[in-house]
């Protein structure tokens, strides 16, 4: 057999094209901090005194704390308005003003990234909740200051919301500074 004979590359090309089409437009899951710089640059263009007050996942979360799209909400004192930038795959997918008053305090700088915080939440009850309830899943994780922290209203925390059909949801609050579980409750 002549090794130099031209091989039929058509099936390979078809397979490659199918893979490209399959993954075209899909963004990979990324930790919460991945889009922060871009969102901050946009926020500074919007208002010089814009400060980050809230972060939430906009798509399903993966086991390692990554998400395809994260929302970053900034508040401007001078404008008394909040504006959100949703970042997917290193690009801003949505930019819009929040249609509610949200003069929340800014989150502390140096907050723990989503992967580290999620690992703490899993250890603090999340993993057990998922194991004991059918189809239970982590639905939401959000970063903010004060609202969910009982002991220290100044603390910036990650709040995790685990949901299961027909069961009260599990809330786990993790300090975004040291990764300690602050509190859990069902509701």
């Amino acid at each position: 057999m002549d090794d130099r004979a031209p091989r039929n590359t058509f099936p390979t090309l078809i397979a490659a094209a199918a893979l490209v089409l399959l993954f075209a437009g899909t963004a990979t899951a990324a930790p919460a901090r991945s889009g922060l710089e871009l969102a901050s640059a946009a926020a500074q263009a919007w208002s010089a005194d814009a400060q980050l007050v809230y972060v939430e996942n906009d798509e399903a979360l993966e086991a390692g704390g990554g998400c395809e799209r994260w929302s970053y909400l900034f508040y401007s004192t001078s404008q008394d308005r909040a504006r959100v930038w949703s970042v997917r795959g290193g690009k801003i997918a949505v930019a819009e003003n929040l249609d509610m008053r949200f003069d929340a305090p800014p989150v502390a700088a140096g907050w723990l990234d989503s992967g580290t915080a999620l690992a703490a939440a899993e250890r603090g009850g999340g993993a057990e909740f998922r194991a004991t309830h059918r189809a239970a899943q982590l639905e939401t994780m959000l970063l903010m200051r004060g609202a969910f922290s009982e002991g220290d209203p100044d603390a910036t925390t990650w709040t995790f919301v685990y949901r299961a059909a027909g069961e009260p949801s599990l809330f786990v609050v993790v300090s975004a500074t040291d990764g300690k579980v602050q509190r859990t409750w069902r509701g």
């Binding site: 871009l38 640059a41 946009a42 500074q44 263009a45 919007w46 208002s47 010089a48 809230y54 939430e56 906009d58 799209r69 929302s71 909400l73 959100v84 930038w85 949703s86 690009k91 801003i92 997918a93 949505v94 930019a95 819009e96 003003n97 929040l98 509610m100 008053r101 949200f102 003069d103 929340a104 502390a108 700088a109 939401t140 959000l142 004060g146 609202a147 969910f148 209203p153 100044d154 919301v161």
Partner: protein, 298 residues
Amino acid sequence: MRMRHAAPVLLLLLAPAFAPRPAAAAKNAGNLPPTTVTTVEVERERPVREKLPTLRFLRANRDFIRARFDRLRETSRVSRAGAGNVDPRFLEYRRLLTEIAAGKDSVTVNSDARERQSVFTSVEDLAALERELDMMEQLLNQQRTRLGYLQADFAGRQRTELDLVITGGALAGQVDSVRVTLEDGTSVASSLTETQRGSIQHGGALEVFRGLVEPRPQVIEIALMGEGWSGTGHGFVTIEPVRDRLTFLKLDLSQASPKLGIGSLAASTWLLETGTDVTRAPSQAAGTPQAEADRDRP
């Protein structure tokens, strides 16, 4: 959006902008990568974009979260002052200021002495004067170095900006003003004087807007006002400013007429080339940011 310039600025780039510039072209070809000028379409309808949900938990629980914040405000507590690392540049600025003050003191002392000494009576006095002049020259050199440091620190930081210019005279009608509206509602109107109209007809460009913009795909709304143009409706241009770069958007009216509609405007975008060495003199800095005028980039 925050604008840097409130008033439109007329860029007087008349004949040179459209004339062949072999010297400039050769210089650019040697020093800078070729700039990509992208033609963009001026559409008659606002492009429809994918609507994605955001902040679902916050929106669903807005009353609960607001109530929590309200409760927090009612709770009195002792606040702690946060302490962070001081940016080393701020310490450097302080050192520079101290040096400037010291230099100023030296000059003042010498100046006072000079005033007291109205007549030079000997060669020794002239020698002393020469020493003082040398010292002043040295102080000026030090000041130049400090200014170079500050320029590199500040001028080197390009943020995401848009510079919108119009050029060309319309085939028909008369454009009296241009209104540009950004997605966040910022609206800027520029009126054209007779002189400005004449300038853009001959290759000049009028800066309609320059300011910070968000680094994302966005639609710019454009409306021309004036004889024949007021009824043509608004045009929409989709651009995607690159983060920490200056994006130019040029609207060329030279092939536009009210009969053809707002879509007859030609639009193009390009980025300002960025260099690194901003401390060198403009004539020496090969990579200094520049936007050399040519047919596509007024």
